[in-house]
Symmetry: C2
Subunit: 158 residues, 2 copies
């Protein structure tokens, strides 16, 4: 490998590499999550939405804001979970239209059922690349996401 090559990678190639790597990483995590969720009768997206209300019920719009997604995407997934009997809408004393989304006992059991596989894969990943580097990588990705977010049009999304 060349040391101090005079031709440093230009920003454009850096951005392309970051985006392509992000797409690839997303695909890998999605595949892993899908494989872990399937035995519990869930999908990656439904697991994610259900996981957002494990401790406290939230409105669909609130979940969307917390996850950085559109409320329509969360709405459809939430409706499917209710149809599956894994979650339910509860009346919201503060807003008659925006009901509170909460998991049912069956939904809680489904999420708990993923725990062992989740823990086992997490342990293997931490073993493969080291917990410290894993933590550092997540932190770096968070900074990158923040930077990209701050450069987008202010009214992007929603």
């Amino acid at each position: 490998m060349a040391a101090e090559s005079p031709t440093a990678p230009d920003a454009q190639e850096l951005l392309s590499g970051a985006a392509l790597t992000s797409f690839r990483l997303n695909g890998r995590f999605l595949a892993v999550a899908e494989a872990m969720a399937r035995p519990a009768g869930l999908t990656a997206a439904r697991w994610q939405v259900l996981g957002a209300v494990l401790h406290e019920p939230l409105t669909v719009s609130g979940i969307a804001r917390a996850m950085g997604m559109t409320r329509q995407a969360v709405q459809r997934t939430a409706d499917l979970l209710v149809g599956q009997g894994l979650a339910e809408y509860r009346p919201n004393p503060a807003h008659s239209r925006a009901k509170l989304f909460a998991p049912t006992e069956e939904g809680l059991a489904a999420v708990r059922g993923i725990g062992p596989a989740h823990g086992e894969f997490a342990a293997r990943l931490a073993d493969a690349m080291g917990p410290e580097e894993l933590a550092r990588t997540v932190e770096a990705m968070r900074r990158l996401a923040d930077a990209v977010e701050s450069l987008e049009e202010p009214d992007a999304g929603q």
Copy 2:
């Protein structure tokens, strides 16, 4: 579950954080790419596929292998690009069934048209977080993707 040291998050939370951050980052890059590609009559996915054959024609299966996607996904995007007149299938002397996918002159012009916006955003991103940290982050993400890939079932995907 005993109290954990605040500086030592368990592997399970680390994995969840990594996946959720990856999903968020993917969404941000996708939105940015979509916004840059739209004026050129492209989408993020079509830009990506077209970008894979800028220098040399490849078969659809070959592109899929190079991008880590299923060949069916690439096939549909490629067919759409051909229908748009931005690419074409050329006879493959080495394989009568697996034709060679190549951009048309119009397709090349479309990709070139994205260049300025791409370069401008890349410069702003490099300015926002520093080219060195950006490069380090991409490298860390690549290692994470490699690690996850190596832990998946050997026959996963395809």
